[in-house]
Amino acid sequence: MGKQKVNSVLPPGSYYFSGDEAVAEGAIAARCGYCAGYPITPATETLERLSVRFGEVGAAFMQMEDEIASICSCIGASWAGAKAMTITSGPGFSLMQEAIGYAVFTETPLVLVDAQRSGPSTGQATRVGSGDIMQAKWGSHGDYLAIALSPWSVQELYDQTINAFNLAERFRVPVFVMAEEATAHLHERMEVGAEVELFNREKKPGAPPFGTEEEDGVPPMPVFGEGEKLLITGSTHDEWGVRKITHPEIHRKLVTRLHKKILNRSQEIIQYDSHYLNDAQVAVVCYGFTARSALFAVEQLRGEGKKIGVLRLKTLWPFAGELIKDIGSRVGKIFIPEMNMGQVAGEIKKYAACEVVSYGQVTGEIVHPHTIMEQLRRLM
């Protein structure tokens, strides 16, 4: 078990897919064994494709009665031994929050793709937004950490869906793929390689399912039906899953470990790419679809001799705080364009010593490159 290379399910080559279709194919490549969901714009096409493709590859697909049932059935499926995924958008993501906390606390591997649309509430159901970023961090009650990825292309929706399964199985956590309507419905070319690297869960028969010697450890993951006599509960529990709901030290130790298993491995989890940052006076920090506009805008302005660089966050949670701290000490200003009222900008302000300028756009439209260029010209 652990990491291993396996053949891709699709024959290697170029494909012309929508983002939603790429998510479906990414799940198949990652050997997802169970997907449940409920129709919702703009994520529905992933379900439609999986309902056909899962039949071909021998995985189980369920359209459930709501998003709550969808994620709960995924948790059941995960403990029954399958890699499990659910797909939704903002309203469904809201409904799933209680179960996300359950998955975190029971250390259940799970992938959740949120094709974000413009909220709050039903909002602009067919338009793009990026308003679920803080919800991915703190949507469920209590203290916890999950992992959230931010793909910017159809290619990355495929790659990051596979990565999300690997992280979920490796760390026994829910992992969120924070897609956006603009990438979910975008059609573009993507490449499928001959092989994919997958992480398959570690089993250790007879070992405590929630126990580890390390204070930031990830216990092995057993499954139902193998005589382990598992006890799984959303209540505070000891290493064998036995409820311990009034013991201060057991609760502190568990909640702390669930934080540390992510935080102490941030370097292993966090991915980003950077462009033109070496001599930059202004850094544009961006993610998701907006990064496409930002990079285009910065390349135009570089042509005019303006010293601007780009940092694209591929991982939103855990947050690349140290990286932002470093960049913030080298540039005069950090500019953050995003399709919300400044959710990531707020996080950046915690780490950057320089001036932080937020540009939040909540129109249900992508942030246009010209808008970013205009804003940057004002800053320079």
Binding site: A60, A69, G225, L231, I232
Partner: protein, 250 residues
């Protein structure tokens, strides 16, 4: 519980959480009796429960895989596990508040899909664990901590609800009918598809106390006097049927 069934209990977990006189301890023994008589292997079984008194029947007591889930979502969790591993013998055990109030939608959809599982609903007519509030099975007029002038609403007939939704085996027994209950649970376990058992059980501490139903023994006697068969019910007038509980396979 009799000594011979103790082999099904998880070692090291001694005390139960039931209040004095709770009928769910009887139900716990009857479920194990049915499993024992069918000679089922506990390693093949998955017990799924929600939140509430009855959710503690399998977890942590039964020495088998037990998934103690969120409030109301048992059937959804169980569906995912069963879809991935059809060899699992899945039994959902939870209360009326869990399965029929907050989880009512999942209950009817589980029945509609005819998912292969046995669902045992311990019906104590109120929310016991949170201190005795009204729920979807509380009789009209009954006093609870949130209906001080009597429940103004009608209760669900859970068996008719689940039957109408498509369950292939539906039965109702009270914990005062141990032989029939064990027979019913065995049949449910042997049924392929969605099997539902409503286990009527007294809650002396939360429900009985507020409705002046007497001591636990009085409540058991009262339950015995009110259980009738479907055949018997057909001979009674609507007036005579008031307060009666129709038991048997429905």
């Amino acid at each position: 519980m009799v000594r011979e069934l103790e082999k099904y209990l998880r070692p090291g977990i001694g005390v139960t959480t039931y209040c004095p006189g709770c009928g769910e301890a009887i139900l716990q023994g009857l479920i194990l009796r049915a499993i024992d008589e069918l000679k089922l292997n506990m390693d093949d079984m998955l017990f799924v429960s929600g939140i509430g008194c009855a959710a503690w029947i399998p977890s942590p007591y039964f020495n088998a895989d037990a998934l103690h889930t969120l409030h109301g979502r048992t059937i959804a969790f169980a569906t995912g596990a069963k879809m991935v591993n059809p060899k699992l013998k899945v039994m959902v055990i939870s209360g009326d508040g869990d399965l029929a109030d907050i989880g009512g939608n999942h209950l009817i959809h589980g029945a509609r899909r005819n998912m292969d599982m046995t669902v045992i609903c311990a019906n104590n007519q109120n929310y016991g664990m949170t201190g005795g509030q009204v729920c979807a099975t509380t009789p009209e007029g009954a006093l609870t901590m949130t209906t001080h002038q009597g429940n103004p609403f009608r209760p669900f007939d859970l068996c008719r609800l689940v039957k109408a939704a498509g369950a292939v085996y539906v039965a109702r027994y009270a914990v005062t009918q141990p032989v029939a209950m064990v027979r019913g649970i065995k049949k449910a376990l042997q049924t392929e598809g969605f099997a539902f058992i409503e286990a009527v059980t007294p809650c002396p501490v939360q429900f009985g106390r507020r409705n002046k139903l007497g001591k636990p023994a009085d409540m058991l006697k009262d339950l015995m006097s009110r259980c009738i068969t479907e055949e018997k019910a057909e001979t009674l007038s609507p007036e005579e049927l008031k307060g009666k509980i129709i038991t048997g396979e429905l």
